[in-house]
Amino acid sequence: MTSKNSFWDSCRENHKRRIWVWIVAVLSQLLAYGGITMIYLSRIKGYYADGNYKAPAAFKEALYQAAKDSIGFSDNLYTLILVLAAIIAMQGFSYLYDRRKVDMYHSVPVSKDRRFVVVYVNGLFLYLIANLLGLASGMVIAVSQGAVNAEVLAAAGLAFVWNLAFFLVFYHLMILAVMLTGNRFVTICLFLAFAIYEFMAYSSINNLKQTFFETYSGYFIHQEAKLSPLVDYTANIWQLKYAKDAAAAAKLAMPLAAKWFGIALVVLLLAWFAYKKRASEAAGKAVAYRFLEPFLKVAAAVPAAYLVGQFVYDTSHQNELLLVLGMLLGGLIVCSVMEVVFDFDIRSIFKHLISSGVALAAIMVIFCIFKWDLFGYDSYIPAQNKVESIAISTDGYYDSYWDENGQYLDNPDYQKETMFLTDTEPVLTLARHAKPLDREGLSNNRCVEILYRLTSGRQAARRIWVDYDDPETAALLNRIFSTEAFQKGMFQGMEDETSYDRVETINYSNGAAMTIVPKEEAKGLRDAWVKDMEQFDFSLVRNNRPCGVIRMSYGADMSYMQRSYYVYESFVNTIDYLKKQEAYYPVELNAADIDLIKVTCYHNEFSVNPDMLYRDDPGYAFYREAVAAEAEYVDTYVDYSTEETFYEEEQIAQILPHIYPNYIDAPWSSYGEDADDSNNYYLEVVFKKDSSYPYERGSYYFTYCFRNGEVPEFVKEATAYTGESAE
């Protein structure tokens, strides 16, 4: 039996005031779950009817995935949940905006605490009922279509908790926003600021660093919002959707959900405190607490000023004076607008000039910090005794990394997790030896990303620029590349010793031929390659191209995964192993197998880079004059390419020792850089159809390039530019 004025009576009475919110919440959740489930399953069934799924098992799997996508972790939901949380919270506490309502509610014998709890619990209850109804509708539809299994149920359960935590954060943020303000417009602005402020602040700081600091790097450490569930949600939802199983999803989702519950609790306590302290007369005012106004003004003006400044800077060909003016103007406008909003009076535009001055001063201080690098960001190189270990990534090599579950890993993440260079001296020396950033892109300097792990536990990341062809740099890089720590962090094949049993196929390619190695040889072949890696250093990869590549492909749940092992001519252990398996073919081809070679020469020496026309380089004076002479229109692109086809076996034999297959990457190699012959010539090598050569991919047509400086004279003569292009 409840008393006449029991808590539940109050809740029931409160619900009567929220009927439209009930309707919106339930309808939106039914559509988001039930409607979307119906659409997704119908789409899969349509694909099946069209014959897109050959095996019934694949069709079934697609149905399960579709059900998981709609009632499990769904990327359709977060906007809806956010908006719903905002509506429920604002509608529940909106009586605080209206003096008439405040007079009524605050004069009746109901305590402030009771009123808050009733409205809060009702809002939460409203969301839960609507969400569960939606979930149930989606589940019923999925069950009726046979699209539910234990994984789908587990995903739905996990997603329910994840979405609830997400809802609570924004529900509480909106309650806090209502408590701090006195009308809907300002509440919505503050709520949006709460939702995205941290993200915006980090973006602004990162952009400022990028604009002013030469050594700024977002490679290893990308500073991003740490307390923003919105960022967490959008950054992780795809991984959660396609998690291997419920356990993998739980491992990712639950810590985040726990963090969100923590954030929600803190925000709720703040909202409660603000509610208790809020005066009734705040109804209708812009801000419930006058003392917050200058803080809000400064907090809004600084990032807004930066946004305006950055826009002006980007659109004015990076004019720093306009950047400063843009920032000041942006800050001033925001300060003035906020004063108008605070008082609902246009005449307040220049009110409280002191806080406006503080905001503008803060803007200029921030600008000066970045512009003149007042904290020595660019000159930062830690003392050797303060560095525990280092991870680096050097421009010139790219690989794909996968974890033991077959999940793709970002390069920086993998390298950060696996590379621990404890011999830090060469890296620190390399950093001291770094070249200045060439903003015009005229030099051949290459970037090196460095992650310093300090003994204090802190981490710092920097990007430096080095000249690979500088002997001192090469010597330092040799010391770094030759360490096992670097190799393990760079080549996953060095690190991974456990997945041989999952290797499905092994092949070796020299660019044209492709041979198969029995999968049972995976361990032996990899061990031989690891043995050869003892001679690996920067000079090896800079001055040589691989003579072939071993590719190991994995099956079952790692079916997307493939690991490449580059083989150099000095890798005698690997080559011997391949030879024993009759899988080795030298990179050099036999002229007897070749039908023809068609050589195209682009004559890059005549080409003009339009970007260079406006540079002050005297070498481009001629072109600048040409542009000036034909002021209206200048066609800077002229096709100078020529081509010649060689059929004679003798000529082909002379060409073959100097060519290299385009199909094989050459990490860190100097080949292929600007003005290189390998860029200037393009070769099409056509094998004889009756050749016994084990062509890769069933083709008999392959593209090659010349090794730098090795173009035969007769080829040069045959492809010389005579005034007519190949076109």
Binding site: R100, M104, H106, S107, V108, S111, R290
Partner: protein, 301 residues
């Protein structure tokens, strides 16, 4: 009893109520009179626990009222613009208030609705301003609280309805000791209902007195003196609040009892004199003029 001590309230830089102290006795009708912006509504909102005083205390039957449920059970506040739920009818509001006020008398409420010809099923949004005020008053009366606080509630009520409400007040005061506290700037509205008035001016209390005492202590005399000496003699030693002269006819407002005035004028040689009754409005104007508040100037610009 409601006791207000040194009550002060600011809205930003504006001092809306300045050091107000008033005692409101039970079973009396207390009228809170004041000019526009005098702070009547603010005092009532603090009295009902809506606003928290910056300084001072408000005690309802010795209980502080702000955020105190027990104290608020004794009060029903009718704001100058009473709020009713969107799309609500009288029944909806009865259901809400009867859930909050334990002694709410539903039967009586519907009987009053019939008497005042208010349709319980009609949406309140379609009611006239006067009908809304009637409904708010009926809800307040039927909530059966000890005190009912009315902020400009009688404005907009036609004389018949006003009389009806006054009758109900009288009945409820008689039966259960209801204490109405009525704020208004309309002096005529309060004249025939209040037992005690508090006069607010610029946030402060000018006076708080029983109406009868007030009427007894201010007198208006119309007379024609025989000579200037007679006039001086008559007014010597008496507080003159106001004096107007038209030809030989003097109209003098003085602070004194009727008996004193009559006794004094009986000894003076006058051609004619008469002690006239003062309306509450005249008392209000006289008292405010004493502190430099020229009501005529305000009204006439």
């Amino acid at each position: 009893m409601i006791e207000i001590h040194n009550l002060t309230k600011h809205f930003d830089k504006v001092k809306a109520v300045d050091d107000v102290s008033v005692s409101i006795r039970e079973k009396t009708v207390f009228g809170l009179i004041g000019t526009n912006g005098a702070g009547k509504s603010t005092v009532l909102r603090m009295l009902s626990g809506v606003l928290k005083p910056d300084e001072g205390t408000v005690a309802v039957d010795n209980m502080p009222v702000y955020d105190n449920v027990e104290a608020k059970k004794k009060l029903f506040f009718i704001a100058d613009e009473p709020y009713f739920f969107a799309n609500a009818n009288a029944g909806t509001m009865e259901h809400y208030y009867s859930g909050i006020f334990e002694d709410f008398n539903k039967l009586e409420f519907y009987q009053y609705l019939d008497k005042f010809d208010l349709d319980k099923n009609r949406k309140i949004g379609t009611f006239s301003k006067g009908m809304k005020k009637q409904l708010a008053l009926l809800l307040g009366i039927c909530a059966h609280t000890k005190y009912i606080l009315c902020d400009e509630t009688f404005d907009g009520l036609d004389p018949v309805m006003r009389q009806g409400i006054k009758s109900i007040f009288a009945k409820e005061m008689e039966e259960r000791g209801l204490t109405p506290i009525i704020a208004s700037h309309n002096l005529r509205e309060l004249e025939d209902i209040c037992d005690h008035v508090g006069l607010l001016h610029k946030g402060g209390v000018l006076l708080s007195k029983d109406l009868e005492d007030m009427k007894c202590n201010i007198q208006k005399v119309q007379c024609v003196f025989c000579s200037v000496d007679d006039e001086l003699k008559a007014l010597n030693g008496i507080e003159v609040l106001k004096k107007e002269q038209r030809g030989s006819l003097c109209t003098i407002t003085v602070r004194s009892t009727r008996e004193e005035v009559e006794a004094r004028f009986a000894t003076i040689d006058t051609i004619f004199y008469e002690v006239l009754p003062l309306s509450l409005e005249e008392i209000f104007i006289s008292e405010t003029e004493v502190v430099g508040y020229d009501i005529k100037k305000l009204i006439l610009g």
